[in-house]
């Protein structure tokens, strides 16, 4: 086990919140799967836009408005490069992963799937990638099925293959499970789905900030992610979709900016991606997203992957040594997310006590109740890491857990 590069400690300094104290102790933020902190560069980009050049997009004949529009469109190119989309027309700005998935559930599954068609999701999906499919299925007579995972949290590929058939029309799967950290073999999932003609949506909420994503290489049909989990602001996310799909799909929301002409009886819609962006967009958030991507690219996703893999290895080793601690989800291919339970101590109590030591972890079902059911736990405690975490953070977590165990001894 090598120790972490100093690098990571240095990076922490870019994040103002991480200089704060919580309950009098330096804040150890280990809830990165819920939302990440923001580097100063992201905060500054939005602040200075609001202060110096705020004007709405798409509509201004005046220069301020044109500049906003130009930035707004340039970020679309930046995002498309970031995930290697074929064209910026395939990048739709949305509120977040949840809206992205609802858009597809509505405008794709809700429009093109027929009664009897099947939608497959893994049984450990986040509710955002579970409930929309379950409900559209219910509404339209589609068949909603869950792909099992094995005891360590890996997708059961044999079961998956046996479930695929010409009836399968959509497979929706997380790239990385927020509950367990499992990195699913999404490229293979896509390949197999395509072999029966099904489309694939990948929920990338937990991946884009942690690994290089190449939508063309994955060959996925849809890819969704949120800005706020990517060092960016709240209120912004991205839906990537293949051009021909976006073109075929009807709009999700209706209003200004997404129409071409409106008559009393007929309306024609703008070309993609604007067709899917009704109303004044969250364009200041788009600027924040851009700064976040730039920051991540400056560090480099390879460096981030290396730092986080190291954090995961160290944390797994140290936590495993704690008596009565059980890690839920030990897939071979895992991101730096550790869900765990302690014998006879409820996760909620763990969370409260660690908080008192300045350590922010999550306790609960992580919006993945089906996953909790699968592993027969009412909830788990979860520590999720980002590249700005350090080995010292892990050590504090470990002593915090020892304190919890002692208290309940």
């Amino acid at each position: 086990m090598t120790s972490l590069p100093l690098y990571s400690t240095e990076l922490k300094k870019d994040f103002p919140v991480l200089q704060q104290t919580m309950n009098g102790k330096p804040l150890i933020y280990l809830d990165n799967a819920a939302t990440t902190q923001k580097p100063q560069a992201v905060i500054d980009a939005m602040t200075s836009f609001y202060q110096d050049s705020y004007a709405t997009v798409h509509r201004g004949v005046y220069r301020l408005g044109h500049e906003s529009t130009a930035i707004y469109d340039a970020v679309r190119k930046q995002v498309s490069r970031f995930i290697n989309a074929d064209s910026e027309k395939e990048i739709v700005y949305v509120k977040g992963t949840t809206e992205a998935i609802n858009l597809v559930a509505n405008s794709f599954a809700g429009e093109f799937l027929q009664a009897g068609d099947e939608i497959l999701v893994s049984e450990i999906e986040h509710h955002a990638n579970f409930v929309p499919w379950q409900q559209v299925a219910k509404r339209n007579g589609l068949v909603f099925r869950t792909i099992p995972v094995n005891d360590v949290g890996e997708l059961d590929m044999t079961a998956y293959e046996s479930m695929l058939s010409p009836k399968t029309k959509l497979v929706a799967i997380g790239h990385v499970s927020n509950a367990l950290g499992t990195i699913h073999p999404v490229k293979e999932v896509v390949k197999k789905a395509h072999s029966v003609g099904a489309k694939v949506l990948i929920d990338g909420a937990q991946s884009v900030a942690h690994m290089k994503v190449d939508v063309q290489d994955l060959d996925c049909d849809f890819y969704a992610f949120s800005g706020h989990k990517l060092l960016g602001p709240t209120g912004i996310g991205v839906l990537y979709a293949k051009k021909e799909l976006l073109e075929a799909m009807p709009p999700y929301m209706l209003g200004g900016d997404m129409i071409e002409t409106v008559g009393l009886t007929e309306t024609t819609f703008a070309p993609i991606p604007e067709k899917f962006e009704a109303g004044t967009p969250a364009f200041v958030e788009v600027i924040g997203l851009s700064a976040a991507i730039s920051y991540i690219e400056k560090i480099g996703l390879e460096a981030i992957e290396a730092i986080e893999a190291n954090l995961l290895a160290i944390a797994t080793e140290k936590l495993s040594k704690i008596d009565g601690l059980k890690i839920i989800g030990t897939a071979k291919n895992k991101a730096a997310v550790i869900s765990f339970v302690l014998d006879n101590i409820h996760p909620h109590d763990i969370g409260t006590i660690l908080d008192e030591y300045g350590i922010a972890i999550r306790a609960g079902h992580h919006c993945a109740q089906p996953a909790m059911t699968r592993y027969c736990v009412p909830a788990t405690a979860r520590a999720s890491f980002s590249f700005y975490n350090t080995e010292s953070d892990i050590d504090k977590l470990v002593s915090g857990i020892h304190a919890v165990v002692e208290m309940f001894a």
């Binding site: 909620h348 306790a363 609960g364 009412p378 909830a379």
Partner: protein, 151 residues
């Protein structure tokens, strides 16, 4: 650190060895209470005779606060009249949510006042209150099998 006021000895020991942790086969009222977000999930079984809680039991799982609260509640309300129990419930909620709980309430609560430490942990208020809410729901009608959720 207020942790010690939250996780008092009594609470920790009731969590470990809860009283009345059982199903009442002859209960007259029953309810299911849960906190979906954190996974607290309890059933409460009450046997009312005349105007009194003749017997009470609970089952389920949850955090130390919710479990100890259930255990202590069942322990202290057994044998009490419904009126008194109603008063205790209101005082209990007051003690875990309000800065200055009245002396009268403190008296009504007796040992149950020890949950006041929860006040400093707003996210935990639901945990302490859950079993009381379930009780309220159980007693509110004649029918058994009522669901209650505090989230």
């Amino acid at each position: 650190m207020n942790l010690k006021r939250l996780y008092q000895e009594t609470i920790l020991s009731h969590n470990k060895s809860p009283k009345n942790f059982r199903v009442l086969d002859d209960c007259t009222h029953e309810a299911h209470g849960k906190n979906p977000l954190c996974g607290d999930d309890f059933f409460v079984y009450v046997k009312v005779e005349g105007n009194k809680i003749a017997d009470i039991g609970f089952q389920g799982q949850g955090c130390a606060i919710s479990k100890a609260s259930a255990s202590l509640m069942t322990h202290y309300i057994k044998g009490k009249s419904l009126d008194v129990v109603e008063k205790m419930k209101n005082c209990f909620i007051e003690s875990i949510t309000q800065e200055d709980c009245s002396d009268e309430c403190k008296e009504t609560l007796g040992p149950l006042f020890l949950f006041e430490g929860v006040r400093d942990y707003p996210v935990r208020v639901k945990c302490a209150a859950l079993i009381w809410r379930a009780l309220e729901s159980a007693l509110s009608t004649e029918s058994i099998n009522k669901e209650v959720s505090t989230e």
